[in-house]
């Protein structure tokens, strides 16, 4: 246990360093982009005088180091700054959107993983049969299908024609179904391929041969002995998938008008809303760091052969 504690402490410290780096990089990158936030937010009809006034009100006329110092000192007090566009605190804008993205990413990952693991196990157990080929081709389609296309296909069939689900938005409990299916399609394909490969590798091991030789039913061999070990690398993939979905759900969020963080980030970049972009990127960075830590720990716990010291 002590080794693990040391490991965690070291990881946390290096992560903090990484986050400082991220804050600096995102601060610079967003300001290097051409374009003047004051003019964009004020619109074309505003006079130069008003634009200048807005620029000053936003604090954008101050030297960069001063702006960065402001940003960092705010961060240390838990203040992510104020949105240039809405003049509301970044944190207030961000938290509800983060919850929505987490919700979608979670259900998408869970559904995708469940279906994917099932498909992968079945494919491995019935290797080279027609079912296996069917599932493998399905996986290929799932990975290749553009989210944008699949999303609208689901809307046309299930919302416009069948009217089973709302077309977009997050107003009703059933609103989550179509976006989840869209996200799960890709996730499932990835997990299925990983699971199948991992299962096949495990099924080729000696101890499986022993189990079979002992006369155990095939079902017991697969589920009790093989699956648990095969799932270890799959767990890692699922964890990383979840992380990428947090950021990559932008397309799904756009198609379904799901009020998540991805869409907020894209719009904030388009509007040059510096504090918003900084805040969101930092939050993502923290989440990714945490997620990686959790996945590594889970991997270490699940596989007794691995020890961190």
């Amino acid at each position: 246990m002590k080794g693990t504690l040391q490991y965690i402490t070291r990881r946390v410290l290096t992560s903090l360093l990484a986050l400082v780096g991220v804050s600096l990089i995102v601060f610079i990158i967003v300001r290097v982009l051409p374009g003047d936030p004051a003019r964009i937010i004020a619109g074309l009809l505003a006079t130069e005088e008003e634009v200048e006034r807005i620029r000053v009100a936003m604090g954008l006329d101050r030297p960069l180091p001063v702006q960065y110092w402001d940003f960092v000192t705010g961060l240390l007090q838990g203040d992510l700054g104020t949105s240039l566009r809405t003049r509301r605190p970044v944190l207030v804008e961000l938290v509800p959107r983060l919850k929505m993205t987490m919700l979608l990413a979670t259900t998408g990952t869970i559904l995708g993983s469940l279906l994917g693991i099932t498909a992968g196990v079945v494919g491995a157990a019935r290797r080279y049969t027609r079912l296996d080929y069917l599932l493998s081709s399905g996986s290929l389609v799932g990975i290749s299908m553009p989210v944008y296309w699949l999303g609208y296909m689901l809307i046309i069939v299930f919302a416009v024609n069948l009217r089973w689900f709302p077309a977009a938005g997050a107003d009703e409990p059933s609103s989550i179904v179509l976006p989840t299916l869209t996200l799960a399609a890709f996730s499932m394909a990835l997990v299925a391929r990983m699971t199948r490969g991992s299962m096949l590798e495990v099924l080729g091991q000696d101890y499986i041969r022993t189990a079979r030789a002992k006369g155990l039913a095939e079902r017991v061999v697969i589920y009790r002995h093989a699956l648990r070990n095969a799932l270890i690398p799959v767990l890692t993939v699922i964890g990383l998938q979840f992380g990428s979905l947090l950021g990559g759900a932008v397309l799904t969020e756009s198609v379904f008008a799901w009020p998540g963080m991805g869409v907020l980030l894209v719009n904030s970049i388009i509007n040059r809303d510096y504090p918003m972009v900084q805040g969101i990127v930092l939050v993502y960075a923290v989440l990714v760091v945490l997620l990686n830590l959790v996945v590594d720990l889970a991997y270490g716990w699940a596989d007794p052969r691995i020890r961190y010291d």
Binding site: G43, S113, A167, G169, A170, E172
Partner: protein, 529 residues
Amino acid sequence: MSVLLHHKGSPGFGRRAAILAVAASLLLAACGGGGGGGEGSSAPAEFRIAIGIDPDTLDPAGQTTTTVQNIVDYMVDTLVDIDKDGKLKPGLATDWEVAPDGLSITLTLRQGVTFHDGTPFNAEAVKFSLDRVLDPNVTVPIRGSYTVIQEVEVVDDYTVRLHLSQPSPALMAALSTTMVGIISPASVEEHGNTYTNYQHPVGTGPYVFKEYVPGERVVVEKNPDYWGEEPYYDRVIFQVVPEAATRMSQLLSGQVDMIILPPVSDIPSLQQNPNVEVLLAPSNRTIYIAINNNDEVLSDKRVRQALNYAVDKDAIIQNVLFGAATKLDAPMAPSLFGYCPVGAYEYNPDRARQLLAEADVENLTLDFIAPTGRYVQDFQAAEAIAGYLEDVGINVTLRTMDWPTYVQNIQQPPDQNDLDLHLLGWAPGYLDAQEQMVQFQLAAHPPNGLATAFYTNPEVEDLLERASREIDVETRADLYCQASRLIMDDAPWIFLWYQSFPIVYSKDVTGVSYLPNEMFDAVYARPAN
């Protein structure tokens, strides 16, 4: 995640935990989803509109975008209103009179009107609202239209006099905009509002602000004490749906009653659809290609006219814009005061080549930039236009970039600006030629403004200067007409079209109209039966 870590060693732990997690998230979704649409017992009548942008502010003074103004207009009234043709009509002011010297305007206010918070509407409230718009401590991007007001005088409870620094015949039109909507003075200290940060509007309008969920929706509810005609719907919900195709799906699936700006390429099929009605409202947004009038070659009027003759606007409108625009026959849209039809440059590639030859132009290469997704089919139209220019022997390199980069590029000062052609749209804040003609004046050349064609003509400048002070309506209109003719002939732009503003709504609904400045007028919508 932690659920997965707990059940060490038990068979099928992964599966059990996963099932638990799915159940948990479905529960979460059910709780987090909130109430559904208007189902249930005596349900309030709801009208749902899907719009494309997330409001940045609901403060009337801080408005910059017509769609958000459209929402605020449900709650906040203005002194004067405009009708479908852009003509002024009484709003919170029942009558107005401009002094003979043009230096003051006296407004008679409507009586018996109360704000949503119960306080009375009167001259003090008008003074408060207008003073606030002029207060430099308050963020008012479009303040420039109102700075001609020097002082707002309360003559009595229902009479206000505006004292101006110079005669401003355009001011009455400017008073129809949301920016000078009248708010309750007491409300700047309620509902979490402050004088400078006003997020919860309290006006005199037909609807009262209920809630704003950022990124999701604005909800307003019927004002039981409204001074005007009572609207039908108890509640109006504006849903934020950035993707045009998604808005269209929501309308077709019945999730919303009305949308704006569907995908333009779907307009023909929507027009065929028996379940929806398509309203192509004329707007005040002119789309044009600004020519760099400073450039050596392009400073020759013949070259610029050639560019105008070279482009077949009718074909582009039909095939690229699916009919959602009308060719320009003047430097402004017809809904503006001061418009007079001058005549368009008809498609004539031979004449274009002839003019280019007369101007001794050979092997001309032009750098052309256009935005993508900012205006209706902007980049697609630009590609077509580049094709037409190539047809008359001009080499065109067409580029696009994101909007903030684009704006920065076109606003470069003259000595750093070597753009040749760029596509732009201009929709004046109110329906008066003064706000449009600024694009042809030296004072607005970058970096001081957005007259990005760098065009100036002393004769035109003089006409526009006189028109800005001319109180006699007919004389003023004539001055703008003369200026329009000169400008059209000088061809500082490739004059393209003015956009239509597509509004699509369910056939189950009627009473949907428009205003000619990219706004829908659906306050008096009601079920069709």
